[in-house]
Symmetry: C2
Amino acid sequence: MTSARKSKGGRSRDARGDRGIPEATVARLPVYLRALTSLSDSEVSTASSEDLATAAGVNSAKLRKDLSYLGTYGTRGVGYDVNYLRYQIAREIGLTQDWSVVIVGIGNLGHALANYSGFASRGFQVAALLDSDPARVGDRVGDLQISSLDDLDSIVRDHTVAIGVIATPAGAAQEVCDRLVAAGVSSILNFAPAVLAVPGHVDVRKVDLSIELQILAYHEQRKAQGLIGLGELEAGAV
Amino acid sequence: MTSARKSKGGRSRDARGDRGIPEATVARLPVYLRALTSLSDSEVSTASSEDLATAAGVNSAKLRKDLSYLGTYGTRGVGYDVNYLRYQIAREIGLTQDWSVVIVGIGNLGHALANYSGFASRGFQVAALLDSDPARVGDRVGDLQISSLDDLDSIVRDHTVAIGVIATPAGAAQEVCDRLVAAGVSSILNFAPAVLAVPGHVDVRKVDLSIELQILAYHEQRKAQGLIGLGELEAGAV
DNA sequence: TAGATTGTTAATCGATTAACAATC
DNA sequence: TAGATTGTTAATCGATTAACAATC
């Protein structure tokens, strides 16, 4: 284990035996990054954990705990240097390098994703748009032309694509997923409403519209029933 | 507290003091529902927790535990009646009623959402599409015309809209959110890369493209560094 | 120095999992 | 009855939170 780098910030990796950062923390780092970028854009140079926590929508104890997994980048009595911390988080996430992604399935959603400006601005390059429908192949979307799914292997190889986005109908998702994995993609963002089976080395994250709506519906229903929280139970008669 | 309904299935609500279902479980119910619907479509009438768990991509212990919060709907030695369980879950989520939603911000993503067929098929009616840009108002998308954001109040009132979807740029999200809340919407699905502040009675769920990609990038980076899991550490030389 | 704020500890809470008695 | 499978228990694990000593 010689890959643990040094940095004057004094990383606590070694102390933690480098077992990685907790998943819940990893999921919040991009949120902190965004908050820091926003503060930086507003010319704020220093921020306390309280400031940052407010901007990120979490409480400050959680934020400090999260940051403590990365290293000790703050100054007691002062706070955090916005740009320095921003860089450290970006580096931790892996945004100091560019990532090539392919988007498979260029229907309505695929189009929207292809045109999404938030990709490039955060270091994600869309290397190709792919579709299995010959009628769509060749169509221009933004400044890319839709490629055939058959070109997947060469595209992944030529652009060193590590991340694939699936925006196909549910029925096609598993096959597309298999082909992505076979081509060497090891991280998948799945927008199709389907459960994907993948080998252990492949990460899958799922974004599912209708599941999100259903979760909201569940809570909405409870509100309507007057069962929200325990407020009524505790405050009301018993 | 007289609102706990009876059902021959024998609900355990009362026994649990009706403190609701754990959030993690709520988030999986829609996944189970989808798996059940798929089995039902395949004419499967009975399924074991193992079958269901496989279809849903979880382990069977978790699935049984989750279902146990709803009631006792299975039969020992046999399994679950697919259609019966499907109905019970749908009812628990609140899908036995229709939900009206509005989509605000009809750019690329808003268009894709407006055309998404998964809404209607799961009991979510898109009551209106709204945009603050006068140039867009009146445009037809699917079988709806884009309305002005100024009509929000009357639309929410007339259609009893409980759920709002925000697909605006980040800069507009908070104001749109405030207007939705003021109009009476109490559940929000936010696609804008912004942290929303809302009153306590309002639920917000966030779907964030670039955050998902960044989480994948983090893990991808670790894989590249040969630090995946502890496999190497443990199996390798020390 | 006095005031402010971090980084860390320890307590608590919630979620996961394996195991198995209950029971079809 | 014998085999299968649920529903539940209890142990474990991971995440959250408040509090505060360390320290700028």
